[in-house]
């Protein structure tokens, strides 16, 4: 089965969506990411959608879900690289992606995550077992 790779970069997870997302793939990404956040104790998730040509209400919902799910696992989500045409379309569609942080590119997204997260190497929050 196809999967979108999730890369670990220090305390963050990086996902670059380079393919056309069909529904199953998007749903798999959602579960994979949330599980990775749990497993790695990541403090931030960076989703790069610069290669994504369209975001419809379903994709928008997946992005929103990832952000809220990560949030309750104590990780912030930043969506980066949205194409201008996609931004215009999302707003007209009526999907302002509330609750999702955005940044222009990966670099700024990283900066944003760094400012949002207090990084003082206190990785002793290992009580994530259920």
């Amino acid at each position: 089965m196809d999967r979108i790779p999730i890369l670990r970069m220090g305390p963050f997870l990086l996902v670059t969506i380079q393919v056309d997302l069909y529904d199953r793939l998007a749903l798999t990404l959602e579960t994979d990411l949330v599980q990775m956040v749990n497993k790695t104790g990541a403090k931030g998730v960076l989703i790069d959608i610069s290669a994504v040509e369209i975001v419809d209400s379903f994709m928008g919902r997946i992005i929103g879900n990832i952000a809220s799910m990560s949030k309750i696992l104590d990780a912030e989500t930043v969506v980066v690289g949205m194409q201008p045409a996609v931004a215009i379309t999302l707003i007209e569609l009526g999907l302002p992606l509330k609750g999702v942080h955005t940044a222009l590119n990966v670099e700024r997204g990283m900066q944003l995550l760094n400012t949002m997260i207090d990084l003082d190497d206190d990785t002793d929050d290992e009580e994530t077992d259920d």
Binding site: D20, Y22, D23, R24, E53, I54, V55, D56, S57, F58, G60, R61, Q83, P84, A85, V86, I88, T89, E92, L93, G94, L95
Partner: protein, 137 residues
Amino acid sequence: MVISLSKDVMRILKDHDVVPFRNRVKEKAVKIKMGLVNQTKLITAASELVRNMLKYANGGDALIEVVSKGRENGVRLTFKDKGPGITDLSLAMKDGYSTGKSLGLGLPGTKRLVSEFDIKSEPGKGTTVTIIKWANG
């Protein structure tokens, strides 16, 4: 008067059919030199409607046409399903209304993205949605 210049039919039965369908719509939009923003709006609208068709009617047929009216060229998409139909169309066109678990943006949102929007539905028989996006519309 709207004249149809080319016609393609695609059967949409599973979510894997969505991406090839979107690509076909894009091909047509590029062919008539539609701008990037309009292309994105059209493809997003197409994606919403195709998803509706899969979700509520287990799929159906999508007709992709290049049309012209006077000096304007555009893409017309017709989505025809034999699903349960919509009992209250005016309610379905309202923002935030959904019988499913979605956000209820599909129909009203789609209408905002395209130049022309038409929906016909008969409960028990099916639904037909037609949209047109003009290259400069």
